[in-house]
Symmetry: C2
Subunit: 275 residues, 2 copies
Amino acid sequence: MSDAPTAHPFDAALQLEPTAAPGAYRAHTSPAYNNMVGPFGGMTAATLVGAVQSHPDVLGDPLSLTVNYAGAIAEGELDIAVTPARTNRTNQHWNLEISQNGEITTTATAVFGLRRETWTDTEVTPPEAPEPTTIDRAGFPEFIAWARNYDLRFVAGGLSERQSPHPDSISTMWIRDEPVRPLDFTSLTAMCDAFYPRAFLRRGTYLPAGTVTFTVYFHATSDELAAHGDDYLLATARAQRFGKGYFDQTGELWSHDGTLLATTHQLVYFKADNA
Amino acid sequence: MSDAPTAHPFDAALQLEPTAAPGAYRAHTSPAYNNMVGPFGGMTAATLVGAVQSHPDVLGDPLSLTVNYAGAIAEGELDIAVTPARTNRTNQHWNLEISQNGEITTTATAVFGLRRETWTDTEVTPPEAPEPTTIDRAGFPEFIAWARNYDLRFVAGGLSERQSPHPDSISTMWIRDEPVRPLDFTSLTAMCDAFYPRAFLRRGTYLPAGTVTFTVYFHATSDELAAHGDDYLLATARAQRFGKGYFDQTGELWSHDGTLLATTHQLVYFKADNA
């Protein structure tokens, strides 16, 4: 028996082993963050952010991330390649790749950089929302393991509304890690992908859907993340167009005190009868 | 003297020479599409889309594109590397890179694919706009060469409003190629980057700004592009947060008849005094 503190499941899932090759890491999928098929895409994206952060040459904090989900990831080991493509005076461009058994499953690029004082303004406003403690915590179906690691409280567009077609695709929810964990760039990345597919809400049913490409613009500074701590974030997302086989989704993640921490966009593959 | 038809300046700028190496092309910057410093980023992005389209293994049409502007591009030759990272049954993931004199200037990823019939719906609505022919064509400063290749008619947030601070960052404009050219995926890509930096509008002045990363989600099918022809598109964009040194921008491009052809997002570097 050990008295060593147990790592938070999110930190356990983020764990990387460096290998002999520079910028090459080995990670392992975590059953706690499984999705219906393979790992939760937000966890995959967070792992890539963590891999860049652990690189000895990293410059500054994440500014943007784009992850392309090229193929299914099976449970097991992941090979992560992290390559600085170009380092400038104040920013740095990264090429990222995940493979399993020599086949590429995920491609990604990231921009990291230093921030400096400028004029600042947030032009959009957070959605109206009652305090999280006044809203019941949402249950997710048992087969979506990753959602059990989040305390989700829906203000609009919750899963319970997903039983008949819905006129819009807007979901707004409070979210924080369960158990609580201080927010950082990796967990903020994962939370940007914590919206269930907008097509479920519009069609009022589960249907085949999966993220094809996912982008995060990090507005939060390290100081803003520290000020947020382990409080709830207010997250909102909506689709813009459901086209032939694909729809897009755009979202915002706000701190409890109304700071826009990240904006996020994705293109999602879906199947739904033309009815 | 020759009677051969002259290529449209956009097609001339897109021109690629294949090289001996598979997936390696040579392009050349076009003075007609210069920006203040280096080429117009939309032209660079369009060139990458064209390079994938010219690859013998390409599958289907563009679904998404992310371009990271890692370093300045000088006038002259561009080396473009186009690599299929993974080909699935209905989609294909590409890694793209531009270099000059052996140094990476641009990294990018793209997803191409086949579309199929599904339920479709456009949830957002186009901005209100009078007919383009009722609005004067906007002039751009002489030093922005690329803008002379577009017929731009501002409905809101035009350059003339950029003389004192503006309460919001919304620009809405009609846009088409000048001279006219039938819309295709390359020109749609370029037009997604045709908004001048939102910080100019908010601050009411020119200031240093440049796109760091740029994403397009292509909603248009080939049939919708053909139906649009060389008509005006209605383009609208706004910023969400101006943070320390960076702001984001989100936009929509609509056909004249109200079809959402693309959504687009970018993160932009800027300098502006904290006043």
